[in-house]
Symmetry: C2
Subunit: 268 residues, 2 copies
């Protein structure tokens, strides 16, 4: 069982990702593909006159403010456009793909974070009306039912709150939750860099291997921006039963095969 | 087993539809909900600078021209926005809804109509690049697997061609294909009129009952615009094993319950 996370940011070769997934599936491997949606959501929300708003948390992280309107645009883009076009492409490659979001059958369930504590002009502020959250439960029975019936699940990064509200969740951590729930052997997180870099953005400073015991330390010292969440997802997945996580380059030919061959940052 | 088709046009009370579906499910009824997407697709495609284009076929029917860009917008709106917000609402009402499009697991498969034969200024023209089609096969095994596991399928009206291209399909006829494949006892098609009217739009001329034997004749004589497809869907479904179809008002309180009680046009 391999969980592949790809897409969300710019620059990934999703055509190459689909080709690799198709080859693995044809070799009899069970695969779950988890995708993102942030870049296309930015583009389309801008076109729809509701541009993305990014805020800085008190801990210094920059994140998207997902109000209800943005949540609905995110659902439309991630679970509609991106998910269905991936399903179409995989079907063309002979893969019986089936797209789901975390809302469907309560696949991904968690706690809503309804307010953000942010910094504006040096002052703390509470920003309410947020629709994001952290996944706490995976409906693994649903995934196993679909996998047993021969389908390849393609998952959009939305979740459902305990009060049944749709939530925007991080795709890397959604993949980690799914990988952990399925006790996947491998989780591949594809990115628009070759892995964790000691000296970002110098790609010659790739860190090829991190033992789990020092992964948190590496996260604190080297991870920048979205790489923090990828490493966090990797650590969570490994603690919860995934055997190996590879954070690898998604811009190249055969990105999944390369990651499986160990190119990238291998954490275990 | 009841298949409910609701939404697509304007004016339907989807909140009331969801409440009725929830009540039926809680009473132990198996339900599949099929929705539309045309009205919201018109609104959003307009906002995105790709307004809908309607063409007149040689037989006089007015239909949407779905080029590839419009197909992608339709997928985004129908399978993303409408489908996921319905799943969210049903989950809030205690229904374990699971949204799919006809692409997913090749749920709805058919032949692509890649060109339209249209009339422009009195002249026949061939318009290529169309992405619509007619459903010829339903993956009934997938629906039965999900129903047996306790999920309520919510289906967006897209299909997949034999060449694995995404297609825009008519929601009424998608519901008919699903109803027939499942040999549903009842199929309820909710509309923004009370049923088939003898003298459209005079709602006092509702035709309450049509024997299947004369349904085609009624279609030819009385059905206007989108009502033609609803009746066509009804006839197809009844020929293929559905016991009763009711075309009923979707703008009222308890629309599904009213239809089940026989308010509307009952065809059997």
């Amino acid at each position: 069982m391999i969980v592949v996370k790809a897409g969300g940011g710019e620059g990934l070769d999703m055509e190459a990702v689909c080709a690799d997934v198709a080859e693995l599936v044809q070799q009899g491997e069970q695969v779950v593909l988890v995708h993102g949606g942030s870049h296309e959501t930015n583009v389309i929300s801008e076109q729809l006159g509701h541009p993305p708003r990014f805020v800085t948390s008190v801990s210094g992280h920059v994140s998207r403010y997902t109000d209800r309107e943005m949540l609905e645009i995110f659902a439309m883009v991630a679970a509609g456009r991106i998910n269905k076009l991936l399903v179409e492409r995989l079907q063309q490659l002979g893969v019986d793909a089936l797209g789901l979001s975390g809302l469907d059958g309560r696949l991904l369930e968690g706690k809503r974070k309804s307010a953000l504590c942010i910094i504006v002009n040096g002052k703390r502020k509470i920003l309410r009306g947020e629709y994001s959250g952290k996944i706490e439960q995976v409906n693994v029975g649903l995934l196993r039912t679909l996998l047993a019936a021969g389908y390849v699940p393609v998952v959009a990064p939305l979740a459902i709150s305990y009060e049944s509200e749709a939530l925007n969740v991080d795709g890397d951590r959604a993949a980690a939750a799914i990988g952990a729930a399925l006790k996947a052997q491998k989780m591949i997180i594809l990115s628009n860099v070759p892995g964790l870099l000691r000296d970002f953005p110098d790609e010659s400073t790739l860190i090829p291997h991190i033992p789990l015991a020092v992964a948190q330390e590496h996260l604190d010292r080297y991870a920048q921006g979205r790489m923090k969440r990828k490493l966090l997802g990797a650590i969570e997945a490994l603690h919860d039963g995934v055997e190996q996580v590879v954070i690898a380059d998604g811009r190249v030919a055969q990105p999944v095969h390369r990651a499986l061959a160990g190119y990238g940052t291998v954490i275990q």
